[in-house]
């Protein structure tokens, strides 16, 4: 028995648990600063953080940066610190390339001479705060929080606080899409389950064909259909139903239409497989015992359909959370989802800490939702019998 499951457990550990763990670790990993600025970190640990540090700290920084000069570590350290304070990157690279710790005289004067920003406490406080091997910086930023000048936590400035909004919007859009999928998918799956095999197969093909079409093609097709100069609007205006085109796409409505279209098969397929197993006699038995059709449906059919409903809804919800290409194509500026920023930080900005932090927060929130759902619905009722 154990020998049979061992390969799949090993596979999961290697290709799922380990990468996931590494990815979660990225959101707190801060090895760059203590790794590349060892002397500075040591010198700053005894500094109170008020005003400017003493000469030994300036000397330590000069020596650390001089040691990195010419290597690729210098711009990478700059990139890391630039996440905390915009402009830190150029400060680090310019200083590293010019500093000379062997020169006589005060290092403090030399550094401030190279760039007057070394005379501002902000940059020193940032290095001091990020001196440990682990950091809360990314996770806090992902929650629109940051460290204030006094050391306590404060909210990010209104104009750049976007991640809580994005998280809420992502969850909201996914929830609405899931709900629409349930309302549309249930009748389809129930009809399929109640039809003759030939008709059920025909319906199944209708569900599957769009499922095999590329996501991009389907999203773009909706643009062609729904835009102001598109088929639907032109037809409605031509028929005299509308006076002028109504915006059907590049807004939330268009996003719901396109996402539901893409995700509906994920609702119908698991639901169908469960509904198929419900014996029709049970409904007739309920009717013969005096239940009205509605009561029979709610108290006999739905409880048995629940595992399929929850499986389909979970699948749709989780897939919807990760969407960012469809919102980019058919949504408006107020419809972007968190995946857009995860992709941006991963690919373009190469800020993997921030990408991981956003992913971690999303993962935590979804886990909480599932635990809460499990408590309310009862996990044992969800087993497919």
């Amino acid at each position: 028995m154990l020998a049979l499951v061992a390969p799949s457990i090993l596979f999961m550990a290697l290709f799922f648990v380990a990468p996931l763990g590494l990815f979660l670790f990225r959101s707190v990993d801060n090895s760059e600063v203590p790794g590349w600025l060892p002397r500075t970190v040591a010198a700053l640990s005894s500094w109170s953080g008020a005003g400017l540090p003493e000469e030994p700290a300036f000397r330590a920084l000069a020596e650390d940066l001089a040691a990195l000069s010419g290597s690729t570590a210098l711009p990478l350290l700059g990139r890391r610190l630039n996440h905390d304070v915009p402009g830190f990157r150029t400060l680090i690279t310019a200083t590293g390339n010019r500093v000379d710790p062997a020169r006589r005289g005060s290092m403090r004067e030399q550094l401030i001479g190279i760039d007057p920003r070394w005379g501002e406490p902000l940059y020193w406080q940032t290095i001091r705060r990020e001196r440990h091997a682990l950091t809360w910086f990314y996770l806090l930023s992902a929650l629109d929080l940051r460290y204030g000048a006094a050391g306590g936590l404060e909210r990010a400035p209104v104009e750049s606080a976007i991640f809580l909004d994005l998280l809420g919007r992502t969850l909201g859009i996914s929830a609405v899409v899931t709900l629409i999928c349930v309302l549309l998918g249930f009748p389809v799956a129930a009809t399929m389950a109640g039809s003759s095999p030939a008709r059920a197969n025909a319906l199944l093909i209708l569900v599957l064909v769009p499922f095999w079409t590329s996501l991009l093609v389907r999203s773009t097709a909706w643009v062609i259909l729904l835009q102001n100069q598109g088929v639907v609007n032109q037809a409605l205006v031509g028929l005299g139903v509308l006076e002028k085109p109504v915006p059907l796409i590049f807004n939330r409505l268009g996003l719901y239409i396109a996402m539901v279209h893409v995700l509906l098969p994920f609702m119908v397929l698991p639901l169908y497989s469960v509904l198929k197993g419900i014996r029709p006699e049970l409904m007739r038995a309920a009717a013969s015992l005096g239940a009205a059709p509605w009561t029979a449906f709610l108290r006999v059919y739905v409880p048995q359909a629940l595992p399929g409903l929850v499986a389909g809804a979970s699948l749709v919800f989780v897939l919807a959370l990760g969407y960012y290409i469809t919102p980019a194509l058919v949504g408006g500026p107020g419809d972007q989802m968190i995946g857009y920023f995860i992709a941006y930080f991963t690919n373009t900005a190469v800020n993997w800490g921030m990408a991981s932090a956003l992913g971690t927060i999303l993962l935590l929130v979804v886990t909480l939702i599932y635990l809460a759902l499990g408590r309310i619905v009862g996990l044992e009722r969800l087993a497919v019998r």
């Binding site: 690729t72 711009p75 990478l76 990139r79 630039n82 996440h83 915009p86 402009g87 830190f88 990157r89 150029t90 690279t93 104009e159 750049s160 606080a161 976007i162 909004d165 643009v223 835009q227 102001n228 100069q229 598109g230 590049f250 980019a328 194509l329 408006g332 500026p333 107020g334 972007q336 920023f341 941006y344 930080f345 991963t346 690919n347 373009t348 900005a349 190469v350 800020n351």
Partner: protein, 352 residues
């Protein structure tokens, strides 16, 4: 056993010859943007160079994700030999040791690239792309002349297509606010510059339709979904050519222009061959041929002499005094330091 050993020798010789032939066909792997620009590159650069040198050029998709360069170089598992990339990525990739530093002046004349900002330590410019004011000449007879006209929705009603990005869009907003295009970067980087750009965008925001990729800007214009749009000149010209459209560009209103560069991946085994390719691709004749196919400007100024006036119509040659250039210390320094923070601010602004 003389017979089998002779057979063995014959086999070994045949195998060696065969693998030898297989290896003679060297392969150069290029990361490029795909789509119509890659089609043009294949026709003008890759095809002729591969045929003349009896090599194979393989293309891979690269949408300017710096992460793709970093993961290849850091893991030591190089898949690409060279890339087509932007000024910002050349600067970062060069500094962070992802691209080869090469003394290009040994291989080409640096003077011919001076108009477009010159050679960079790691990259050679090969096309000059301009983003500017575009509209459909069949729908608008009396066209807009300035970015202030672009903002004027009473005289020219209808939506405006703009790039969903802080970079380029902020520069254009400042031009609309009366900043001379060559000064746009300076004003933007100065205190209050970002606020000024956002304030100007705020005024037009209800009428803005944000687009995210170049193809979208053209469909928006040609379908009449927007009346005017910020669009890239190569896209406009090739849409006119292939779809028989009458899109116009008013580059005199001010434009945001920059180069696309060739750069070689750090540690590429085919470095010499890649240099040879770049040498070929930036020489005057292929540069002029490239303009004819895609209608982006050439980086090599000698190519202009080979072009007709009609071919130069969507090129900014006459309006270089109206350019906000996507190169130089100020531009690179500003966007490298503030790019992430400003994108967040921009996204928040656009969503409100």
């Amino acid at each position: 056993m003389p017979k089998p050993s002779r057979l063995w020798i014959a086999l070994v010789v045949a195998l060696t010859a065969w693998t030898g032939i297989a290896h003679a066909q060297t392969k150069l792997v290029v990361g490029n943007a795909g789509g119509s620009s890659a089609d043009a590159e294949r026709k003008v650069f890759y095809g002729p160079f591969a045929a003349a040198n009896k090599i194979q050029i393989q293309e891979e998709s690269f949408n300017q994700e710096l992460a793709k360069l970093r993961s290849q170089v850091e893991t030591g598992n190089l898949i690409w030999d060279m890339v087509s990339t932007t000024a910002i990525n050349v600067a970062t990739g060069c500094e962070e040791g992802l691209l080869e530093k090469i003394d290009w002046s040994k291989y080409m004349d640096p003077k011919v690239f001076q108009d477009v900002g010159g050679l960079s330590e790691c990259g050679v410019p090969y096309l000059f792309v301009s983003g500017g004011l575009a509209y459909d000449g069949n729908r608008i007879k009396e066209g807009p002349k300035t970015w202030a006209d672009f903002w004027n929705v009473t005289k020219w009603p209808g939506k405006r297509g703009m790039l969903y990005r802080a970079e380029q869009t902020f520069e254009v907003a400042l031009m609309a606010d009366g900043v001379p295009p060559p000064k746009a970067m300076e004003v933007l980087a100065a205190p209050g510059g970002v606020d000024r750009a956002l304030k100007k965008l705020e005024a037009l925001k209800p009428n803005i339709h944000w687009w995210k990729n170049g193809a979208e800007s053209i469909t928006l214009l040609s379908s009449g979904e927007v009346a005017m749009a910020y669009a890239w000149n190569g896209r406009v010209a090739s849409a006119n050519k292939t779809n028989n459209l009458n899109l116009k560009m008013e580059l005199g209103a001010g434009h945001v222009s920059g180069c696309q560069y060739w750069a070689i991946m750090k540690g590429s085994k085919n470095k010499e061959l890649a240099i040879k390719f770049i040498q070929y691709a930036v020489s005057a004749q292929p540069q002029a041929d490239f303009v004819r196919v895609i209608s982006y400007g050439p980086a090599n100024r000698d190519a202009y002499a080979l072009l007709t006036d009609q071919e130069k119509a969507t090129l900014p040659a006459k309006h270089m005094d109206k350019a906000s250039l996507q190169l130089g210390k100020l531009y690179l320094g500003f966007w490298l330091a503030n790019g992430d923070a400003l994108l967040q601010r921009f996204v928040k602004f656009a969503a409100q």
